[in-house]
């Protein structure tokens, strides 16, 4: 690895929209920074708020959750339920003094390859601007 700090960003995405969108970005060879690692679930509704907190506790500098657009969920309404939980996570992050810009929920459909690349680039830029997570600073 080079000397420059590389952020650790976890992306948890749904199988039907955002994972497919990310695949489409690949097919279209739309380049974006490599600082994200993806965990695929069937639906963002599967995501426990604790997964996000666990990631931050483990030292993630940023977490991105991405699913289908509202009204577009393969399982009708999983993304609504995920979004509700994730707002809670954002509030919780604020309350413990963790910058909630480190955590983002986005909506990228299976046909939005370019948007996926944009989202990841933006998340990486934001996290780079914020620097390493304070939870990893005192190691």
């Amino acid at each position: 690895m080079s000397d420059a700090w590389k952020p650790k960003i976890l992306g948890m995405v749904c199988n039907w929209c955002s994972y497919a969108g990310a695949d489409l970005a690949g097919g279209g060879r739309i380049q974006y920074p490599p600082d994200i690692r993806i965990v695929r679930v069937m639906c963002t509704g599967r995501l426990d708020a604790l997964f996000v907190l666990k990631a931050f506790a483990d030292g993630a500098d940023g977490v991105l959750i991405s699913g289908c657009h509202f009204g577009d969920c393969h399982y009708l309404e999983g993304n609504y339920k995920a979004a509700k939980r994730m707002f809670m996570v954002k509030r919780l992050m604020k309350s413990i003094g963790l910058d909630d810009r480190r955590f983002r929920m986005t909506f990228v459909s299976a046909s939005e390859g370019a948007k996926w690349a944009k989202v990841v680039t933006n998340v990486v830029d934001t996290v780079k601007e914020l620097g390493p997570s304070p939870l990893t600073e005192n190691k």
Binding site: D23, R37, G71, H74, E77, G78
Partner: protein, 716 residues
Amino acid sequence: MVEKKKTTTKKTETKKQDTKKEAPVKQEVKKQAPAPAAKAVAAPGTTTKQEARIGVFICHCGTNIAGSMDIPAVQEYAKTLPNVAYVDNYKYMCSMPGQAVISKAVKDNHLTGVVVSACSPRLHEPTFRTATKEAGINPFRFEMANIREQNSWVHMHDREGSTEKAKDAIRIAVAKAALLQDLFPKTVPVEKAAMVVGAGVAGMQAALDLAAAGIKTYLVESDTSIGGRMSQLDKTFPTLDCSQCILTPKMVDVGRATMIDLMTYTEVDAVEGYIGNFDVTVRKKARGVLTPAEAEARGIVGGGCNGCGDCEAVCPVIKPNEFEVGMKPRKAIYINHPQVVPLLYTIDFNTCIKCGLCVTACGPEKKAIDLESKDEFVKVKVGTVILATGYDIFPIENKQEWGYKRYDNVITSLEFERLICASGPTGGHLVRPSDGETPMRVAFVLCAGSRDNTGIGKPYCSRFCCMYSLKHAHQITEKIPGCIPYIFYMDIRSFGKAYEEFYYRIQDEGAKFIRGRVANILEDPKTKNLHVYADDTLLDRPVDMEVDLVVLAAAIQPKVDTNRTRKLFGVSCSQDGWLLEAHPKLNPCGTTTAGVFLAGVCQGPKDIPDTVAQAEGAASAASIPIHKGEVELEPYFATCIEEKCAGCGMCVNLCPYSALSLVEKDGRQVMQVTEAKCKGCGTCGGFCPGGAIWMNHFATPQIVAQIDAFLLGGEQ
């Protein structure tokens, strides 16, 4: 990533502090935190006693992957991961020899799990699952690390970054693979019936094919008769067949086929269930007219509508006829055109004044009219569904510079079709709407709203406008001697069989082609003639041409209720709003919802031959599960860990499919899953405060292991 290993203890402390703020779920995190590899995961029904032995197989995909990263370095790294017993690489893992590598390694090394690091699981997961199964272990003990679509292809010029990302992806996949369990797909029976939504040429073709294959088919059409857009057309390109002449035999067949249950003036109201077992509720809109069968059911023997038209003759209400694009009047009780199937009148209750004249005219024998009829809901059960919902015409008045709806003599191509059609409002005489005169100079504006990046029109090509405009040019030179068609075009896209030849023919027939987009159209207020302003880009000079009639080849767009349709059937849309196919190249008829297929323009602009071909494809695809008689469902359903379940019932309300319920067991309430209803979204598992829901293949310990593997370097 690896240097984080030593700091694990410290981080666990930080985490404890975090979770204190969220008291009720604190325990859950504690339990997950040690997320043990392989051993201590106790899922209901399965025991994983043996130590996980994972094989990692890295694919080069030619240079697709190997060209962007250091495969030997990735391979060396994979060997150091916990639970990894074997690592190999191959140029094309999906090839037969590549799959043989997996099979041999599993047997030789007694592997318990397989990780293939290659393309997207959305492409090759089924391939490698089968390979895993053939190697002798459960196919669900396979996990894929996507290092192509989400790595080598998107970080093509960052060799170091993509190599590191691939290492992490494999570490994450191995962590999950070590915890995967044997799963067994369920098979469910498939209802031997299908539904086709939309009875244009696509829907009719699909329904006819399904019926011919011996499948009971419900053909649902929201309009009063079948035929769709094609029945509005006069001629078809490039053969110049009369559209109605080639369509009506199909319409008649549809009306006659005993295996087709034709439901016109009917809309889908609700859809429940899954492939093999869709419960569809349709709403039969109040029609006010009884079929002979309906009349007989009411005890009126020999009654019902016979299409005589006596009612229409006496009806006092006059409205614009939508089928004729408003250019002809119709009554409140009407049929679209003389060749309708079914030949059955319909009362437009929005305009009917219930004067009762039609009831009298119909007479006491037929008694076909019921002014008090109401919407009826009917439930049908089908195994598969084909959506063939068609398209709308782009509201071209939005492109104000062309003056549609402001100038009398600017019409759309669909209006032209009706005007030139023998059964149309003018009996086939093309006339100027302003004065009824025969036009001698007609301008055709192509790409009207198509290939338009101004934000007002549509960015895509509507695909058939070039060709029908050529056909229009032919029709006017044929019908009106001396009339000159001027075609303003960007490119003539004559892509189909015998299309280019047709283009040459029209050139020879004297049509004038001007390559240039029309900038503006102005009306001469006295003569109502039109001045068409454009740039002739071939001669590089501005054009101001006075014509008698302008025909705009308006773009097409998704049906106005596409959103409703796709939500009903759980289908996605592509960016331009058309229904999204499962794969643009290799699965153009399928959707991401198993058992729902697409046919015709609802999936994207296409002409009649392509529409019919796709309809036949969709019918074939939709008939496969029905003929097979059963389908395999992925075993991703939820299960309840009863010791942990507190019986709170939160999950029961969260489930979008009503698959969960609370039952009494050993004197307390626990959750129970109806597996046939569960689709495996995991919304319940993502919420359960007690961690009592085990989502097969996406279980909490498996996901936590992935998170830990990424961030803590595989050491938990």
